[in-house]
């Protein structure tokens, strides 16, 4: 009878434990059951890892992204020494794709974080202080958004002939408005809650209220917007580099590898297919991850 009681208590405490899961634990639990999102995460990690290890892999396989050999150009897939063939100058296509991934993914990753940082800082300030500052920021956002984004992006890149680093800066300077709008709206509603009032009452500084009390509460939204932002950035970078205004040859990116590919369509279709497929798959995966995370974080969906 005693052991029965203990077992009951045990069951009760276990139930309590389940109820007291933190938001992150609950989200993680949901995420673990979401097969498509996990698969997408695995794919993106794989691409990232392959790109990071590009120099090592190229060395091991004896291929080089910049070594030209005009006599062996347009080699087809699975040819000797070049698993994915060669391009119009006889450069190894596989190693160019790997190195291209470094640039494309690296730019998207860095720019997404920088965009988020700028967007959060400005958005929280605008939402928290309101008034004239908010009006000014709002006007600036509306103005910036009234210039067609791609026009502005192409214009600045064409003028500056960017390196990967400057391209990241350009993306961040032009891209923060979306995050700012999101953060500003959330801040407006959160700053009226009781716990912010409580923090104010015990004399917390505005800075502390903003970054210790408000920002952590929109963390899940920010992660989702970060991931979705990356997919947009990969598309933008590839379009820019394809047009010839982004990162320029000989540095390979998935976008600029497509620049001349149409002209060689008859001789080497893989030059046109592979980079495009990589871009599409990566962007597709980021969308899936973003959607999956949104569902995982959503408190309205049962765990």
């Amino acid at each position: 009878m005693n052991s029965n009681k203990i077992a009951k208590l045990d069951a009760k405490s276990k139930r309590d434990e389940r109820q007291s899961l933190t938001m992150w634990q609950r989200s993680l639990r949901r995420l673990r059951r979401d097969k498509p999102t996990l698969l997408a995460m695995f794919t993106v990690l794989l691409f990232a890892l392959l790109s990071l290890l590009a120099p090592l892999l190229s060395d091991v396989m004896g291929i080089n992204p910049n070594e030209q050999n005009v006599r062996n150009n347009y080699a087809p897939l699975f040819s000797e020494g070049h698993p994915l063939g060669t391009d119009e100058l006889g450069r190894d296509h596989l190693s160019r794709l790997l190195y291209g991934g470094r640039i494309s993914l690296g730019i998207a990753f860095a720019a997404a974080f920088l965009t988020l940082g700028i967007g959060v800082a400005i958005g929280v300030c605008a939402g928290f202080y309101g008034g004239k500052l908010d009006d000014f920021i709002n006007w600036f956002i509306i103005t910036l958004n009234s210039i067609p984004g791609l026009f502005l992006l192409i214009l600045i890149s064409a003028l500056l002939s960017p390196t990967p680093l400057t391209l990241v800066l350009i993306f961040a300077i032009l891209g923060w408005t979306g995050v700012t709008r999101l953060v500003r709206a959330e801040t407006y509603s959160i700053k009226e809650r009781e716990y912010v009032l409580a923090a104010r009452a015990i004399g917390a500084s505005p800075f502390r209220i903003m970054f210790v009390h408000i920002v952590p509460n929109i963390f899940s939204l920010l992660i989702v917007s970060l991931v979705l932002g990356m997919s947009g950035l990969i598309l933008a970078e590839s379009a820019l580099s394809y047009l010839g205004f982004g990162i320029r040859a000989p540095i390979p990116t998935w976008g600029n590898m497509l620049s001349g590919a149409f002209a060689y369509m008859r001789r080497a279709p893989h030059l046109l297919f592979l980079p495009g497929i990589l871009i599409s798959v990566t962007v597709f995966c980021f969308y899936l991850i973003g959607d999956g995370l949104r569902d995982a974080f959503d408190p309205k969906i049962a765990a």
Partner: protein
Amino acid sequence: MQKYILRRIVQALPTLLGITFIVYFIMLLVPGDPVSLLAFDPTLRQDERDRLARQLGVNDPFILQYLRWLIGDDWMMVDTNADGEVDAWGDNYGILRGDFGTSFKFRGSNPLTLIAERLGATIELNIAVLLVGLTSGITIGVLAAVSRGGWFDKSTRVLAVVGDSVPAFWLGLMVLVFFGIALPRDILEPMGIGNGSPLLPMGGRCPPVRGGCPPIFLRIHFLILPTAVSAFGVIAVWSRYMRASMLETINADFMRTARAKGLNHSQVWFRHGLRNAILPFAVFLGPTFVGLLGGSVIIERIFTWPGVGLLTFDALVSRDYPMVMANVMIASVLTVLGYILSDILYAIFDPRVRF
């Protein structure tokens, strides 16, 4: 209503002013000094160079230069020989009066007239895209909502995500490869159909003939590929929004009333549901239009469509700055107008909006 429209236009003025400021600021990033850029003459002597610099006012404070660019300097005199006295009238009318300088590439042309010549092509393409994209997007979205959970709903979801993930320029290239090369040469010709020439025009707005393009119904086949590629993204976005909006409307009270009073299925869905679900879309119309305008650089480049996008691209490649500035300004003005128009449309269609 008129008051609302007027207020909306007045609200747009600070935005337009801000745009001119940003565009002018970006122009300052142009490498090289403006005198040699504008003069285009390496044999220029130093004193001529100085004279030109003073006439252009390149050493003036930024704000003064900006104002000159904005409103011109034909009403004031400039000191061109640096003797402390003004001696010549300015000859710049300012962009507010349509003076963007002269194009570098097309010597002596006013960028605005060049843009005006090309604007028709861009608008023609984008109207086609909007027509195709909106009608199919809305139809697909509604059908997906009606058959929620069914195979049609699921496949449109996949279509939407794929439409978002595939870069438009790559899709354009793929379409060109398929209709221009793969289908006619590798599939149809071996079957004895056709002679391997492209099924649809690979680019351009009409056959290269003298005296401009024929009326649109004679060259509709030129529109098919660019419209299809460009509309794909629009369909992807709108079908999903439409589905969500439709599903939200289903639960509204008036829908229950409609069902309760015995209307049949299609009347409930289309007369009551669709008409309400479609309302928020007046708001999306502006951003969609803006997206298309921005994307026109890519679409027009791939299909060599002779519109404003291609003009901008060519101007950037040849570093024709007055042309670029004019293009960006016009595109921005169109954008602002697009936003205003979509707000007004919303106010007209939704009587619940208060002015």
